[in-house]
């Protein structure tokens, strides 16, 4: 059961993958289908295991991630 929720601002995400690499629950992946206006594959949540630890947001160089806790 999800304890948290990540929201990615896909317009400013540069698809660097740092958030993906630090998520302890493998919630995030770089999208295989979406491409944003800058040509990047943005990160997206692929399951509802988020525990709102904010590790992804801490590593995001572009402030593209908002984290909420239930």
């Amino acid at each position: 059961m999800a304890k948290g929720k990540v929201t990615i601002n896909e317009d400013i995400c540069k698809g660097c993958g740092l958030c993906v690499s630090v998520c302890p629950k493998q919630v995030l992946e770089l999208s295989k289908t979406k491409i944003n206006a800058s040509g990047y594959n943005p990160a997206e949540a692929v399951n509802d295991e988020c525990i709102a630890c904010t590790s992804c947001a801490k590593m995001c160089p572009d402030c593209a991630i908002t984290v909420e806790r239930f």
Binding site: K14, S21, V22, K58, C60, D62, T66, V67
Partner: protein, 250 residues
Amino acid sequence: MAVVFEKTKALTDLKMHYCPGCAHGIVHRLLAECLEESGDVKDAIVAVPVGCAVFANKYFNFDGIQCAHGRAPATATGVKRVQKDKIVITYQGDGDLASIGTCEIVHAAARGEKITTIFINNGIYGMTGGQMAPTTLPGMKATTAKNGRDPAVNGFPLRVSEMLATLDGPAYIERVSVSTPAQVTQAKKAIQKALEIQKKGLGFTFIEVVSSCPTNWGMTPVKAMEFVREKMIPYYPLGVYKDITAEGGK
């Protein structure tokens, strides 16, 4: 449901021009968060370098000045001597601070200028395209050291935090990194402490951030962070190098 992490208002809404995975964005955010949380955004003035962070003033939602290459500590000195009650920060890379601006940073530190310097050490010239920096590791490749830095030809890297810690002027010096979430948390604490010490007028404060440059290192952002942990940090050990507020000083 409560928001536990969102973009700080101390950054503007401009999209940063940095390459994917560049840690400048992380450190910009940490500085901005620290100032927002302490209520000091209205009193902050940042002196930005020549290098990739030359436009950092556009991203920070407070006053800023673009300096000549390496001269930010001198320019910040001029600003701070006039605006004594404001919080003055220089934000500089390794080419800027540890090469062309070595003189300025050493003397600002020695004078105990009541400013905070954030020093991004990623061992390479980023904006000009991957040339050897004063902090490039021995053996590390650069466009002006194509077979890797050879100390016999190019000399050895500078360890700036250690060097400045020998001076009496600095009040606080810490080397941090941002290659893991835990390191990011620690880096923020270090910046917070430096800014508090500046506000108390205790002396010069210096935070070195061991960072990455995925583009010019020729690595993915994730691999570059691994390189930071495996190669950079052993050469540039993290920790507090000076803290006059610690028990008995340090």
